[in-house]
């Protein structure tokens, strides 16, 4: 594989040269910069997907209105051979719409979860730059405790506990696979009347 294109151009300012120019260079600052970068990338990706989802919702809204109009038309149609077929098609459309409404809600959940990750990265970036704090075990415990309160869904809490308890990447992957499987069989949440 030709990796020539990855060689630094001496006329160009690379990340390394930029980093070397920083007068108060510390490893913590470099980690913080990378964490900030991850946060910014996530924000950018979320903003892009917001635009896409807005367009999808608009199109979905049109589909629902068309389905409702078709339904009203079906009710007015006299009982003919085609009426049963129309009714079947409308029923299928309703089921698809309901499934799409559930699926759309996962975007909202995704946005919320990534927002929590962004906040965690930002908090970590600030924390590690404070050498007095980041050198103390008790302060790390406090930071984890603060971040734990941030996670509000069951999936977030379980994953957080698993990782904080020292699970391996393999164990985490297994847990995620299991959660996804559960989600496929029961995609909607529980209801409780007080």
């Amino acid at each position: 594989m030709d990796l020539a294109h990855l060689q630094p151009n001496p006329n160009e300012s690379t990340d390394d040269t930029v980093m070397m120019r920083v007068a108060t260079w510390t490893p913590e600052q470099q980690i913080a910069r990378l964490l900030d970068l991850c946060e910014a990338q996530m924000e950018s990706a979320l903003s892009e997907s917001d635009v896409a989802v807005e367009a999808l919702i608009k199109s979905f809204s049109g589909l629902i209105e068309a389905g409702q109009a078709l339904g009203s038309l079906g009710e007015k149609t006299p009982a003919e051979a085609g009426a049963a077929d129309l009714s079947r098609q409308l029923d299928a459309l309703r089921k698809q719409t309901a499934a799409a409404i559930v699926a759309f809600q996962f975007y909202d959940k995704l946005t919320q979860r990534l927002g929590h990750v962004r906040y965690s990265l930002s908090a970590l970036a600030m924390f590690i730059c404070d050498r007095a704090k980041s050198g103390e075990r008790e302060q790390w415990k406090r930071m984890f405790s603060t971040l734990r309160r941030l996670y509000r869904t069951e999936e977030e809490r379980e994953l957080f506990k698993l990782m904080v308890d020292g699970a391996t990447a393999e164990e985490a992957r297994e847990h995620i696979q299991q959660s996804t499987l559960t989600l496929r069989t029961a995609p909607t949440g529980e209801i409780e009347i007080f």
Binding site: Q112, R152, F194
Partner: protein
């Protein structure tokens, strides 16, 4: 499932997420309810004080005023003492659920909701 007789019922849907508000609106309007929307507790409370609402469906985590505070504030108003108030949220913690119950919420619905289940729950509490 509610039919055309539900036309006069007004539901106040409160969520800071535009996509969630849209999903709730699609679902409720398809069953004949009239839906008014608010982006947070402050906007919802302001609307509810000035207009009549038959049911409140609110998220928990929102800027300015969260859903639990909204329920508590509304329960403090004589006009909303007996109005059904459902919480629609991703919050699964028992502590938060308990706080919602104490504030006066009628029920707790976990996101994502199924349109059919949401409609049958609303029909049950209205």
């Amino acid at each position: 499932m509610p039919g055309p007789s539900q036309n006069s019922r007004v539901i106040l849907a409160v969520d800071d997420s535009a996509s969630m508000r849209q999903m709730v609106r699609f679902t409720l309007e398809s069953a004949g309810y009239r839906v008014v929307q608010a982006v947070d507790g402050v906007e919802a409370l302001d609307f509810a004080k000035n207009s009549a609402v038959d049911l409140v469906l609110t998220d928990v985590n929102m800027p300015r005023m969260d859903g639990i505070t909204l329920v508590r504030e509304l329960r403090g108003l004589s006009t909303y003492k007996f109005t059904p108030m459902l919480v629609l949220t991703t919050e699964s913690g028992q502590d938060t659920k308990q706080r919602g119950k104490q504030a006066g919420a009628t029920g707790w619905i976990m996101k994502p909701f199924s349109p059919e289940q949401l409609l049958s729950t609303i029909a049950r509490v209205l």
